[in-house]
């Protein structure tokens, strides 16, 4: 059952990705103070249909007692490999509901990997090093971006109705709005709203 549905979702997504019908949409995200929101994660979800899971691969490295990158956005069903490039042990874990796991103590570049099959925000930590922190955003939509320094992301979207979500881990800020894509290219500017308390997990839009 699940396999059949997954197949249908994947077909639908493939159809939606047809380049000829796509419209160029630029989404700019600003912090509450108006600056460009670097590292903000933008997800554009089509309101009328779900995309099929993707089996992509991503790497969250551990270097100098830091996760690298600290923000990773992957599509549902992707596999993330956690190599350890430090000379010490790490014990990577997640108590997030989207994906709860615990890697045994390991050292070196043993390619420990986890599959993130559920959309949601996963917070990664190291049981040994309290200060190690990384976010893995698992999204169902194929349209997403981790914004560069200019806080702007470019999307080619088929016309239709979308929900645009923006989230920023350090600010703990989020923005969500509906976007209707026509045939003409468009530019959307979002301003993040900072919640009263810093809770990036709760702030995750989905």
């Amino acid at each position: 059952m699940d396999a059949v549905r997954t197949l249908i979702l994947a077909l639908t997504a493939t159809a939606a990705c047809t380049p000829a019908r796509a419209t160029h949409v630029t989404i700019e995200v600003r912090t509450p103070s108006g600056a460009a929101a670097r590292d903000a994660v933008v997800v554009v979800d089509a309101q009328d249909g779900a995309a099929a899971p993707a089996h992509e691969k991503a790497v969250v490295d551990q270097v100098n007692k830091q996760f690298d990158p600290q923000i990773t956005v992957v599509r549902t069903g992707s596999t993330i490999v956690f190599p350890n490039h430090d000379q010490i042990h790490h014990q990577v874990y997640s108590f997030s509901e989207a994906r709860r796991f615990e890697l045994d103590l390991y050292a070196g570049s043993r390619n420990a990997s986890e599959v993130f099959g559920k959309p949601g925000l996963v917070v990664l930590g190291c049981n040994i090093h309290d200060r190690m922190l990384a976010f893995v955003a698992v999204v169902g939509s194929p349209y997403f971006a981790k914004l560069p320094a200019n806080g702007t992301g470019d999307f080619d979207l088929p016309p239709g109705r979308y929900t645009v979500s923006a989230w920023h881990p350090e600010l703990g800020a989020v923005h969500k709005q509906t976007l209707t894509v026509e045939s003409a290219p468009a530019k959307v500017t979002l301003t993040l709203q900072a919640p009263p308390t810093y809770d990036p997990v709760s702030a995750w839009p989905e």
Partner: protein, 804 residues
């Protein structure tokens, strides 16, 4: 109050003030010490309490971290495994309880036992979500899902500090630690209850009573206290409470032990001070008393000395021999005493000694006499002397000579009066020319010879600066016990005898009682004499004057008689001397002149003119209005002045010869005749006599009477008559009683005679009868103008002045 008491009281008072001040100062200082002791204790308490809180905080923080760092705990949180979380929290609490067990406790007691045995009152451990809702709780009675109260406030409290919270009436010290996996997923709140054990521990290490209070809806509520419930404590030592985050506070109060401890030094000091005060008060009182005595006893001695000196005892020994001010005072007193004594002696000398002669004065004499009279058994004689004409010696020869005369007289009297020298003999100078002497006698009869001896000692002239000066004296003598027994009376008696001697012109008279009677009579006479003139009791008697050669009547002398209502007819000797002494004579003279002139004028108008002679006394001559009165009488009654003769005694010139002479001159210009009465008895200096504007002299009766017996008197009388005639004066003799006397006088060419031989004094009527048929000296002959005088220049001018 006595000086002694006052000094002692002053000293004690000052000391008391000083001691009281010291006590107050010590009290204040002690109060300060007390407060400082308490506040030091409070500081210590605060430090201990803060150290405890910090230790608690560290322990709690550590314990919390041991929970939150546990991966299993993080898993349980992620899994929301409440039951496991609660047990985890309980386990942490047990661990912390065991960590706080006393060192002697058994190693692994159960959780509750450990908690009970530990120093900790209670442990609270609560795990909440980030939003504060309770996930698991131990020891707090909070239910899962409940919101942890005041979490935001607790989190807002500064890092490194504990928070405080009241949960269900219990006060907790809290720490909050976050749980990260790796983001913050929960809060672990751990806390110790601050209750009985904590307070007790604090109290054990402090001397303060601690009361813990919390804020409730009903206000401050007392949670725990170490203070006895009934002890209010020493309210003023309550210090500011230690506030625990506005919801609780520690009230601190010094315990009795602390207060006692703080008070102890003061109590000891005060105790010592009180003893010191008592001792020093006693010592001061004693010292002050001793000092006061040291001052006042000499003062009392000085006072006694002063009293003795005041009483006149100048031999008083002033008893203070010291080197201080009192010694100086005593010395001054001693010196003062000596000077007072010296002055006293000088005053006594002045008071009792005559300055000129060195003899006793009257006062001293009376004293000495009184003293002598006090010795019974032998008579005391008192003699009073009067020097004649001493005044003239002073005036003519100077006071130096007069004083020298007095000194010599004094010496002679002292020698004579005191020979043989006897106890109780003495000589004094009573007044200017008056001396007195006294001596005890073996026999009263010796009084006369003693007096005569004294008198004769003065018979030789006194020689002053080789100049011999004649002195004569009269003496009156009185003797005890017959004459008087008191000193004053004796002197009076002697004085009366002296007067008697003088009036009788004798050198010496003894007192006899009749003199006193006479004196007494005279005293009563004074009053009566006053009335005599008004009552017309005085009468004029006339004694005729007869020309010796022819036996013709030449005139009459007017004499006074007093028809006394009780004593009968009194002669002039009975009252005229007295009147002269009392100054009454002037009035009598005036009366006599007036009546005599009236009578003479009557005769004159009747064609039987008779010259009359009226006696003028010494006092009358001193009366400046005498001439006016006489002129008035003559004019009033219409008598020619030449019919009036004024008889003046020689002694009238002694006191003030110039003025007397001037009056005589004035009277002469009136045209009245002037006569010198008692010629030869007094002093009659020829030079004076030559200057007097007189018409006649009257030889004193004593000479005339002496004519009978003494050939020597004959010579005197003859030379007196010749002298009068040589001066161009008529010579009158009075007191002629025998024919032989008359014959002698006639032989000596005396002009006029008067006496019993011819006629006694008689009344005017009797005279008229007596005159009847007798031949008279013709008036023209009787009228004798004033003779030509050697210094005739003064009189005519005066006469002219008068007549003009």
């Amino acid at each position: 109050m006595q000086l002694r008491t006052r000094i002692a009281l002053t000293f004690s008072f000052l000391l008391t003030v000083a001691l009281a001040t010291a006590l107050v100062v010590v009290s204040l200082a002690n109060q300060d010490i007390k407060e400082r002791t308490v506040s030091r204790e409070v500081r210590n308490f605060r430090s201990a309490f803060e150290a405890l809180l910090e230790a608690n905080r560290r322990q709690l923080t550590e314990a919390a971290h041991s929970v939150t760092d546990d991966f299993a705990v993080k898993q349980q949180i992620a899994l929301r495994d409440s039951a496991t979380l609660v047990s985890t929290l309980e386990n942490g609490a047990c661990r912390i309880a065991r960590a706080n067990l006393p060192s002697d406790a058994s190693s692994t007691p159960g959780c509750d036992e450990a908690l009970e045995a530990s120093r900790i009152d209670g442990v609270m451990s609560v795990l909440t979500a980030v939003n504060g809702s309770v996930m698991a709780s131990y020891g707090s009675q909070l239910e899962p899902g409940q919101k942890f109260p005041h979490l935001d406030e607790i989190l807002a409290s500064p890092r490194g500090q504990s928070a405080f919270m009241v949960v269900h009436g219990r006060l907790y010290q809290l720490v909050v630690v976050e749980v990260r996996s790796p983001l913050r997923v929960a809060w672990l709140i751990m806390g110790f209850e601050l209750g009985r054990k904590t307070i007790g521990d604090l109290r054990r290490n402090s001397l303060l009573d601690v009361t813990l209070r919390i804020v409730t809806q009903r206000g401050w509520v007392r949670v725990q206290s170490t203070a006895p419930a009934d002890a209010a404590g020493d309210e003023k030592f309550w210090v500011d409470p230690l506030n625990l985050s506005d919801i609780a506070q520690m009230q601190l109060a010094p315990t009795r032990v602390l207060l006692d401890q703080a008070k102890q030094p003061f109590d000891e000091l005060r105790n010592k001070l009180e003893w010191l005060a008592l001792l020093s008060l006693l010592a001061t009182a004693g010292a002050a008393f001793w000092l006061a005595r040291n001052i006042t006893r000499p003062l009392e001695n000085l006072t006694k000395a002063v009293d003795r000196i005041r009483a006149g005892r100048y031999d008083t020994k002033v008893p203070v021999e010291r080197n201080d001010e009192l010694g100086t005072l005593a010395e001054g007193l001693q010196v003062m005493q000596a000077e007072v004594l010296h002055r006293d002696q000088r005053i006594r000398r002045l008071a009792f000694q005559d300055g000129v002669t060195g003899l006793m004065n009257r006062t001293a004499f009376v004293e000495a006499l009184t003293a002598a009279l006090a010795i019974p058994g032998r008579p005391i004689a008192v003699a009073v002397f009067n020097l004649h004409r001493f005044r003239r010696i002073n005036e003519n020869l100077g006071y130096d000579v007069g004083d020298a005369v007095l000194r010599q007289v004094a010496g002679r009297l002292a020698t004579a009066g005191g020979t043989p020298a006897r106890e109780g003999s003495g000589v004094a100078r009573l007044g200017a020319d008056e001396f007195a002497a006294m001596t005890p006698l073996d026999d009263q009869a010796d009084a006369r010879s003693w007096g005569a001896r004294l008198l004769s000692s003065l018979s030789d002239p006194v020689v002053v600066d080789t100049q011999p000066i004649d002195i004569t004296a009269t003496v009156g003598v009185a003797v005890t016990p017959d004459d008087a027994s008191q000193a004053d009376e004796l002197l009076v008696c002697a004085d009366l005898a002296l007067q008697n001697a003088r009036s009788e012109k004798r050198g010496l008279a003894l007192y006899r009682s009749s003199l006193k009677l006479a004196t007494r009579d005279q005293l009563s006479l004074l009053g009566e004499l006053n009335q005599a003139i008004e009552r017309d009791e005085l009468q004029l008697y006339f004694q005729p004057k007869v020309e010796l050669a022819t036996g013709r009547v030449a005139g009459a002398e007017v004499l006074m008689r007093w028809q006394h209502p009780s004593r009968g007819l009194l002669g002039p000797a009975a009252f005229i001397p007295f009147a002269e002494h009392t100054g009454f004579i002037c009035r009598i003279t005036q009366w006599a002149v007036d009546r005599a002139v009236r009578q003479a004028a009557l005769w004159h108008r009747a064609g039987s003119s008779l010259p009359i002679a009226v006696n003028i006394s010494t006092d009358d001559l001193a009366d400046v209005q005498l001439d006016l009165r006489i002129a008035t009488a003559l004019k009033f009654h219409g008598l020619p002045p030449n019919l009036l003769t004024l008889e003046v005694t020689e002694s009238g010139f002694i006191d003030n010869p110039d003025r007397a002479l001037q009056m005589l001159d004035t009277l002469a210009t009136l045209g009245v005749q002037l006569s010198i009465d008692d010629f030869g008895t007094g002093y009659s200096s020829l030079s004076h006599l030559a200057r007097m504007p007189v018409n006649e002299v009257k030889i004193d009766r004593s000479f005339v009477i002496g004519l009978e017996a003494d050939e020597e008197f004959t010579t005197v009388v003859r030379s007196a008559i010749e002298m009068g005639h040589n001066l161009g004066l008529k010579v009158v003799a009075e007191g002629i009683e025998t024919e032989s006397s008359a014959e002698r006088l006639r032989a000596m060419h005396c002009d006029i005679a008067q006496g019993y031989l011819y006629a006694k004094p008689m009344s005017a009527g009797a005279l008229e009868q007596w005159l009847d048929g007798r031949p008279r000296v013709p008036l023209t002959c009787a009228r004798t103008l004033p003779r030509e005088r050697a210094d005739a220049d003064a009189l005519p001018e005066a006469a002219e002045a008068r007549t003009a």
